[in-house]
Symmetry: C2
Subunit: 208 residues, 2 copies
């Protein structure tokens, strides 16, 4: 949210509010992330997002298209700080293959350990578990941005399945440690988790 | 639902409907499972369950207590057919330790492969991901019924953590194969998944 454009609850948008520009686009995206986080995919509407951003619904459609496309843009935006610098995934994927399991494990758990990146991730996971359209968006982004790139590095006929079984170990740890909070896993030191999980991730990816 | 007790949408329950007995208890539980499955934990109310079962809310409280306790009974009921015969868990846990990874993997994936047991499981997972109270119930039941029994068999100081990391591999496969449906994992032959996952589960449990 920019200070220059306070939210308006009701009424016709003013000229300033409907004016196109990068700041308006960012404001809509921020409102979308908040709406999807708070209400989940199904209960969020383009109209609600527009209202929260203080713009006309037509402008949301103009920038992003359908609700599914707004969600996709919001998920990508939420994943960006988690993914970090543009070359973070490059570093994981393109470093020495013998350490890819540990790099991937530390990256993934690091994102979940940090409350700032955990909150939007949790919202995305909730939406994906509850709604098939949201699941499809999640699938597309995660598959394209991470799994396919790791698989491409492996040069094995079953590389994609290997990457997914490795991802499954990490996703399951996130579910039990951060979402369901099963003890002792939820409270044990992160290094203990890395020690238990990184060799498994490595094994899925590179074992003969 | 029994044929003798059709649902009633409105009005005061008749004498027959408030009459206590095992059939009434089962009818309430069946209605609870349906309500929790369709609406999720948060939007389900004891009043709604009572209405769907054609009984008074007081009778639901009489049999089960609070909404959380009704949910716990419903989850236990939903898990019972999945778990199968009373000695299913015994067979997994008490067979030769060298094959526990494969037995556990086949049992867990078998439950998810079967649409009849998958539907209530999915409802439970959705509730647990969306609501902390539902997560606590899930945690309590899964920990007590399965993880702690496996850990007890291992006789290692970090046995509970080992059981949870093994469970994490299985939970992650369920999420990606049956909930998010990432390809190729979602469509690949079950035996291929067992071959990839059972050694990991075994390793978590018994590797030195």
């Amino acid at each position: 949210m920019t200070d220059a454009a306070p939210r308006r609850g009701r009424g016709r948008p003013t000229r300033t509010q409907t004016e196109a520009g990068p700041a308006t686009r960012d404001r809509i995206l921020e409102a979308a992330r908040e709406e999807f986080s708070e209400r989940g995919y199904e209960k969020t509407s383009v109209r609600g997002i527009a209202k929260s951003a203080g713009v006309d619904s037509a402008l949301v459609h103009h920038y992003f298209g359908t609700k599914e496309q707004v969600f996709e843009a919001a998920v990508e935006g939420a994943m960006a700080p988690a993914i970090g610098a543009p070359d973070t995934i490059d570093t994981i994927v393109e470093g020495p293959l013998g350490g890819v399991g540990e790099r991937l494990t530390r990256f993934f758990l690091g994102v979940w350990e940090n409350p700032t990146s955990r909150t939007p991730l949790l919202a995305i996971v909730r939406s994906a578990v509850n709604n098939d359209t949201a699941a499809a968006v999640f699938r597309r982004l995660v598959a394209a941005q991470l799994l396919r790139r790791i698989a491409a590095r492996l040069d094995a006929p079953d590389a994609e399945l290997r990457a997914e079984l490795a991802a499954a170990q990490l996703v399951g740890v996130a579910m039990l440690r951060y979402v369901i909070k099963v003890e002792p896993l939820a409270s044990v030191d992160l290094e203990r988790v890395v020690a238990g999980v990184a060799p498994v991730v490595q094994g899925h990816l590179t074992n003969p």
